[in-house]
């Protein structure tokens, strides 16, 4: 309920007094009716409603799945001398020129970011306001975060509009997808580790011990202490001691030939490669992977296929037999 209030307040369309007249403890349907009446009192327009939709999405981005697209300029290209207003007007013009039936709404956000909501229609169909696409874009950067509500037949047009409006030359869909928009942002902008060793830090980060308590009872001796230390060190070298960006899965599409120590066998003789899909799922995949070796479930170091996820900015992999 308080979240609904936060969203409505951020909308700034209904006044404080009006909001106070609404009881949020009512049943959803009657609450909705009350709000609709208030909106009509204020003469709500489609644009206002679209804005409210954006604000709701800004507070609930985890309810959608986000793809990441990367744009590139030609080498030696001139510096981008457009401001945000030019970007927005250019983007809208391109879409409206191609599809007369389209609603485009913008909302500026912090750090030079803009949220865009696009409701699609066709020549013969009305715009579908219930299945819009959302774009989050940080101006003058090569990355855009896009979430579609339905079939992606409009992807090429949306990509074209983005590329041209932001003065880039090409756009590629990255193999990176997640609900956690903030983690996607941290990964592509390489902002997931903001612990830097400076003159002020007392001990080098690597030397801090993880886990093993030196003050424990001296009668308890850890067997394999050396191995445990090695595992901790290797894990820290790879994952660092910062919190990992949050992803829900990593998917590996394999197209490989069967390898076996035993000679022969039907599978080994097979000409065509085997195709299979391996998917790792977790509420917090990277933290889970980080804890595997210290928990004794896997060897350290882990396979680079797993540890390269944040540095490569990928959680979809295609592995082919060389």
């Amino acid at each position: 309920m308080t979240k609904m209030m936060t969203v409505l307040k951020a909308w700034e369309f209904l006044s404080e007094n009006q909001l106070q007249t609404v009881s949020f403890r009512k049943r959803k349907e009657s609450l909705a009716q009350d709000l609709v009446l208030l909106c009509e009192e204020n003469g709500v327009s489609l644009n206002d409603a679209a804005l409210l939709d954006i604000i709701y999405t800004q507070f609930h981005w985890h309810q959608r799945v986000w793809d990441v697209f990367q744009m590139a300029k030609e080498p030696g290209e001139d510096i981008d001398l457009s401001d945000m207003e030019q970007f927005k007007s250019s983007f809208k013009k391109i879409l409206q020129r191609a599809l007369k039936n389209v609603t485009v709404t913008f909302r500026d956000a912090e750090e030079n970011a803009v949220w865009i909501r696009i409701a699609w229609g066709t020549q013969y169909r009305k715009r579908n306001q219930y299945k819009p696409a959302y774009v989050m874009y940080y101006s003058q950067t090569p990355y855009a975060f896009i979430s579609f509500s339905q079939l992606r037949s409009n992807t090429p047009l949306l990509c074209q509009a983005l590329t041209i409006a932001s003065k880039h030359h090409q756009i590629v869909k990255m193999d990176l997808r997640s609900r956690y928009l903030d983690s996607l942002k941290a990964i592509v902008f390489k902002q997931y580790n903001q612990n830097f060793e400076t003159h002020n830090s007392a001990t080098p980060l690597q030397e801090r011990r993880l886990g093993l308590d030196i003050n424990m009872d001296s009668r308890i001796i850890h067997e394999n202490r050396i191995e445990k230390d090695r595992v901790q060190r290797v894990t820290q070298d790879i994952f660092g001691d910062y919190s990992q960006p949050r992803l829900e899965f990593a998917q590996y599409k394999l197209e490989i030939k069967f390898k076996s120590d035993l000679n022969g066998g039907i599978l080994a003789e097979r000409e065509e490669p085997l195709r299979c899909l391996v998917k790792f799922s977790s509420p917090h995949l990277l933290e889970a992977l980080k804890s595997l070796a210290p928990a004794g479930i896997a060897d350290a170091p882990l396979s680079p296929l797993l540890t390269c996820i944040p540095s490569k900015g990928m959680n979809y992999f295609k592995i082919k037999h060389k």
Partner: protein
């Protein structure tokens, strides 16, 4: 070291320790009895077996060590190259520590800190953590995404670390300076602005509408500042136009032209500070 090459050694050493302790405590009691004699002979057998095992392992390790030598010499020269690169970066940081560049050596390279400043005011600091390997690479950083870090790295990182750091310094200081000017304008001179200041991430395109009062007359001007060079803090192109239907009187046309010149040569907030001063002077003359 032998310890890391023989993982089971700690277990064996521990067993030996226990065994020695048992012997010591038995000597204290001074009761050589039948059962204990059997136990002690068993214990001795185990201990001897363990000892011979350990000796065998150590022998194997010694052989491995000698056979590994040629690789080790290769490792040493790589190690030397790594150290040389590290010392080089250290020297650069040492030499330029008063120009806002500082750093700390890390276990795998160096973490460089770039402190930005504009006309004596200290602004944000940015970090680049470099891993000294072949090829040299950036481990992580806090550089904003709209700074062309990839472009600068592609040009200089592998061939000339000094140039890489300087170029990055230039871009960051210029960006910080432009941002500072825009922030100061919004903060201290909002009274002059007729609308919001329009800017972009790099603060290299600034548009604003401002009103100027002189001798009882007020006019609104529209200014657009372009910084085509990302390493400068003064605009490369300035256009000031008159907002309004009426044509500008000659004296005001001169004002407009002088404003264009001012924006090109003075920091943005300083230009508005001079407007404030002039208005104050104007007011004092009138009264």
């Amino acid at each position: 070291t032998a310890r890391t090459l023989v993982p089971g050694l700690s277990v064996l050493a521990h067993l030996e320790k226990l065994e020695t302790q048992v012997n010591r405590s038995r000597k204290k009691l001074e009761e050589p009895q039948g059962a204990q004699a059997v136990e002690s002979s068993l214990g001795t057998k185990i201990r001897d077996k363990l000892r011979s095992e350990v000796k065998q392992r150590q022998a194997r390790v010694a052989v491995r060590d000698t056979s590994v030598e040629p690789d080790q010499t290769l490792e040493i020269s790589e190690q030397k190259a790594w150290e040389r690169k590290r010392e080089n970066v250290k020297a650069i940081l040492q030499a330029y520590r008063f120009t806002g560049l500082s750093g700390k050596l890390t276990s795998r390279g160096v973490c460089v800190c770039i402190h930005t400043a504009f006309e004596g005011t200290l602004l944000d600091s940015y970090f680049v953590d470099l891993v000294i390997q072949k090829p040299l690479r950036i481990h992580h950083h806090s550089i904003p995404a709209f700074i062309p870090l990839e472009e600068i790295s592609a040009k200089y990182l592998q061939t000339n670390i000094q140039h890489f750091l300087f170029s990055l310094c230039e871009y960051l200081n210029a960006y910080a300076g432009r941002k500072y000017q825009a922030d100061q304008l919004q903060r201290d001179f909002a009274a002059f602005l007729a609308g919001p200041l329009q800017r972009n991430s790099l603060c290299n395109v600034l548009s604003f509408t401002y009103k100027v009062e002189l001798r009882g007359q007020a006019f609104t001007f529209c200014a657009r500042l372009l910084y085509k060079d990302l390493t400068v803090t003064l605009p490369t192109d300035v256009t000031v136009t008159h907002q309004g239907m009426d044509t500008l009187p000659t004296s005001w046309e001169e004002q407009r032209a002088s404003h264009e010149n001012l924006f090109c040569t003075k920091a943005l907030h300083k230009v508005f500070a001079s407007f404030t001063q002039r208005e104050k002077l104007d007011m004092s003359l009138v009264h």
